[in-house]
């Protein structure tokens, strides 16, 4: 390993860390959407969910729990969508490309009231 390799390694890791920081600070999200063929078919307020239930979309089952949502199982070959796990942070997504379905949690700003108000 040469010096330039080390520079590359450190700078890529640094970039990843920097990009990850805003996600880490953003806490958990509230509003989740399920998309089929690019269109929103279901919109869920995750904090209002009390029990556990599943939603069927073409090819997959989606599990909804208080504060989180994710693919439960799917008929696609690698079940990559299930590997995304349960989503809770704003901006996070899981998608099942073969079935053209997607789950996303909307970024917090437009779903909450103002953080602070000054006069």
């Amino acid at each position: 390993m040469k010096r330039g390799d080390l520079v590359i390694l450190v700078s890529v890791l640094l970039l990843a860390g920097l990009l990850y920081l805003p996600l880490l600070l953003s806490g958990s999200g509230r509003k989740a959407e399920i998309l089929v063929e690019g269109k929103v078919t279901e919109s869920i307020d995750l904090l209002a969910v009390t029990g556990e239930y599943t939603i069927s979309v073409p090819g997959s089952e989606i599990l909804v729990r208080p504060g989180e949502i994710g693919y439960l199982c799917s008929d696609c070959p690698n079940e990559d969508c299930v590997r995304f796990g349960m989503l809770s942070r704003p901006g996070s997504t899981a998608s099942c490309i073969p079935n053209h379905t997607m789950i996303r949690i909307l970024a917090g700003k437009d779903t909450d009231g103002p953080d602070a108000v000054t006069y």
Partner: protein, 179 residues
């Protein structure tokens, strides 16, 4: 190589390289679902070793042949979206490799190029899935991809460095008698 024309040996060489790439990535897709804890869509990218070896032994333009062969294989076995993902990743990482192997930076070895090309691969794929799904939220997944790309790039880079002396010899013997 005369401009725009391939020798018979080059055609044979690229064909073998492409085949090895396809075998390696087919092997990977059997292994990956068995290993727990991998982020979705992540693969070790073993075929990158072959492509890097080609670039390192002077076939910098030829690396696009195995890349294209891999994508066509993805198209035949897994469909159009897999084709686009494979092609975008492959072309991005090939461009990075081509750049570095043509410039010959003294301080950068196979390890560094491996990391950068793996990350370029992931970047290309993310760009295509971004265009495909029109979701800016995919950017949230980028740090994970970069982290994983660094790890796999490091491993494939080290493999390449270990195999390079032998590959150089092989490539030399293969092309020597063609003139």
């Amino acid at each position: 190589m005369k401009a725009g024309r391939l020798s018979v040996r080059q055609v044979a060489f690229y064909g073998i390289a492409g085949t090895v790439c396809i075998v390696l990535s087919a092997m990977e897709s059997i292994l990956v679902p068995v290993v727990p804890g991998l982020p979705p869509g992540a693969k070790p990218g073993l075929s990158n070793i072959v492509i890097m070896l080609m670039a390192a032994t002077g076939q910098t333009a030829g690396i696009f042949f195995p890349v294209l062969m891999k994508s066509v294989f993805a198209l035949l076995t897994r469909g159009a979206s897999a084709f686009l993902m494979s092609l975008s990743g492959g072309v991005f990482s090939a461009l990075v490799m081509m750049f570095f192997y043509r410039r010959h930076f003294r301080n950068i070895s196979e390890t560094g190029i491996g990391i950068l090309s793996a990350c370029a691969h992931n970047t290309g794929q993310l760009l295509v899935s971004f265009i495909y799904t029109q979701t800016t939220a995919l950017i949230a997944y980028y740090p994970v991809l970069l982290l994983f790309g660094t790890a796999t790039g490091l491993v494939t880079g080290i493999f390449t460095a270990v195999l390079l002396p032998r590959a150089r010899q092989l490539a030399q013997n293969f092309f020597q008698s063609s003139e």
